[in-house]
Amino acid sequence: MAGNKKKFIQGNEACTEGALYAGCRFYAGYPITPSTEIMEICGARLPRMGGAFIQMEDEIASICAIVGASLGGLKSMTATSGPGFSLMQEGLGFACMTEVPCVIVNVMRSGPSTGFPTGPSQSDVMQTKWGTHGDHPAIVLTPASVEEIFHETVRAFNLSEIYRTPVILLYDEIIGRMREAVTIPAPGEIEVVARRVPTCSPAEYKPYDAKGGDIAPLASYGDGYRFHVTGLYHAADGFPTNNTQLIEEACIRLLRKVDDNKERIWKNEEYHLDDAEVGIFAYGVSAKSAKFAVKELRKKGIKAGLLRPLTIWPFPDRAVEELAGRVKAIIVPEMNMGQIVYEVERASRGKCEVKGIFRVDTEPIKPVQIIECITGNGLKPSSPGSKMGEMMVERDMLDG
């Protein structure tokens, strides 16, 4: 298509391209490996596009600044990694509670603590759901290639505006720093969602009025709607309330915004699942290895298939349960000591075996590990001491 640009770029660069394509015009951040390229490129490009860029004093300030900017009417983003993401948790909850759209990118590195800063991992996947305190909605997207980072960044901004909630883009250091060819679509080629703003008069405007659906339009400060925003539980007009019924309603509505729209938010890739006897559930870089493993296993005559979530939260319960009903086992390779495997176990409702392959030496899970796990050849626990790793799929299970 005319206007398309093919570029050979890094994952973090693709993230910036996606953000700018989606209309991001504000970036606040604090440098941290391995996400810093996003900040550096935003710093160079946003001023040229009339957007704002600021280096804040820490990650706490960064997430607060993007929420402030979003209330000023600009699509806003920050990017970070483990330690910075931990610092952002309170601000993330504030964005959920006040329903301010923004995008937070977490390029996962090895942890806990400072860990191995240049070493990749997938160990923040539960934190993206449960990191901030209190019941709150979570939308988390997990791209697995450089081109997908571009598209999922655009989708992150769109979902953030549609559901008036922060959206987390979660990928590992390998995807973030890998270089691949990316086709940047021409403007208008893929959908970019604009913020829904109020059409009523300022006097009638209530920033949290759920009457017209769970998601109220959001005015910008300075546009004539003088409204109040607070992290306290608030009524439809935005002012604090200690009415227990209103508190319950507000909490349930926050969760319902995402829960009722799961089908619109879910996005999975299914690879050779139609006739699969063993399923692999993998996201991010582990899905790259899983896809390769599926090809190799098929060559050996083993009917393996891959279920790859591009939306990890809300968790794709239905797809997992459906898969569990027709395979003998689901293998979950992830670069941590077992996180999303428990979600797969929960969602499969005992309909099949669920086994994890874990790796935390900052090397990616190799296709051969997945292949060996499934064929039972040369089996060894993928992580020493891990019960999950020791329970391998029985060969006869697959003969079936």
Partner: protein, 289 residues
């Protein structure tokens, strides 16, 4: 939107000056406020609204941002674009909002704990950047909202629920800190000297750059009770009246008379490039390339 000044009708037609009409600035149905009887925050609010009126700024063009604490409840009562945020983080939100929409006049209401303890890092960096905003630190030397713990401005020896035997920590001087960090307008006022305070807040809002006003006021409920002050008025007299000296009188007083007193008035004013203006210049430069 009409200017608030035009909405205000004189209440009396006598020769006597009409009383100030606060109603255009106060949100209907949101009063009474949560502040205790004898608390100075109401006086600060009065001075703030009168100062804003004098600036002639439109309500639509004012954003008031706060953190957590008694002082941070101010935005809920006033009819501006208002944002009540996390403990300590008001300045970070304000920074994002101001840079995103520089035409907004940003006023931050915060307290000594909010601005100088949990928010201390944001405070010094806001001063350093010199983004055009007004920071009002309601300084009552105690955490009032959580019932009277020591704050970074609690004087040595004073009693709080977390310094029951007297504080052993040296306090911050808000103004020295702000000046050292680079704020281009630094002033101090008290709730007792309310006319002075109104003028100082007016000057702070009009100043182009980061303005900090340290506002000494009293928390009779906790600080006063723990430290054996008999009444809110005694607190105001001892802490705000006798504990401070106007910068205009400094030359007339001996070092002994100035001992232990805080200075009131505009303590520092300088001219340094303002952040949003600099960012605008940077954009113009890179876009011309």
């Amino acid at each position: 939107m009409s200017r608030p000044a035009e909405e205000i009708k004189p209440l009396a037609k006598k020769k006597k000056k009409a009383p100030f009409n606060y109603s255009p600035y106060v949100r209907g149905g949101k009063l009474p406020h949560i502040w205790c009887p004898g608390c100075g925050h109401g006086i600060v609010l009065k001075c703030l609204l009168r100062a804003i009126h004098t600036t002639g700024l439109l309500r639509d063009d004012i954003a008031m941002v706060s953190g957590i604490g008694c002082s941070s409840r101010t935005p809920g009562y006033v009819d501006f674009n208002t944002l009540h945020t996390l403990h300590g983080r008001a300045l970070a939100y304000a920074t994002g909002l101001k840079l995103a929409k520089p035409r907004l006049n940003v006023i931050v209401t915060t307290g000594d704990g909010d601005a100088l303890a949990i928010g201390g890092n944001h405070f010094i960096h806001a001063c350093r950047r010199n983004m055009d905003m007004t920071i009002l630190v309601y300084n009552n030397a105690v955490y009032g909202m959580t019932s009277g713990q020591a704050s970074p401005t609690t004087p040595p020896g004073k009693i709080s629920t977390t310094s029951r035997n007297g504080s052993i920590e040296p306090p911050f001087d808000t103004c020295s800190l702000a000046r050292a960090a680079g704020a281009t307008f630094v002033a101090r006022g008290t709730a007792y000297h309310f006319q002075e305070l109104e003028k100082v807040i007016y000057e702070a809002i009009m100043h182009k750059g980061t303005s900090v006003v340290d506002i000494i006021d009293a928390c009779p409920t906790y600080y006063g009770r723990f430290n054996k002050y008999k009444s809110p008025t005694e607190m105001m007299e001892k802490i705000e009246k006798e504990g401070t000296v106007s910068v205009k009188q400094v030359d007339k007083l001996s070092p002994e008379e100035l001992e232990g007193k805080l200075l009131r008035g505009i303590l520092h004013k300088s001219d340094r490039p303002e952040y949003c203006a600099e960012y605008q210049k940077l954009m113009t430069k890179v876009q011309a390339k």
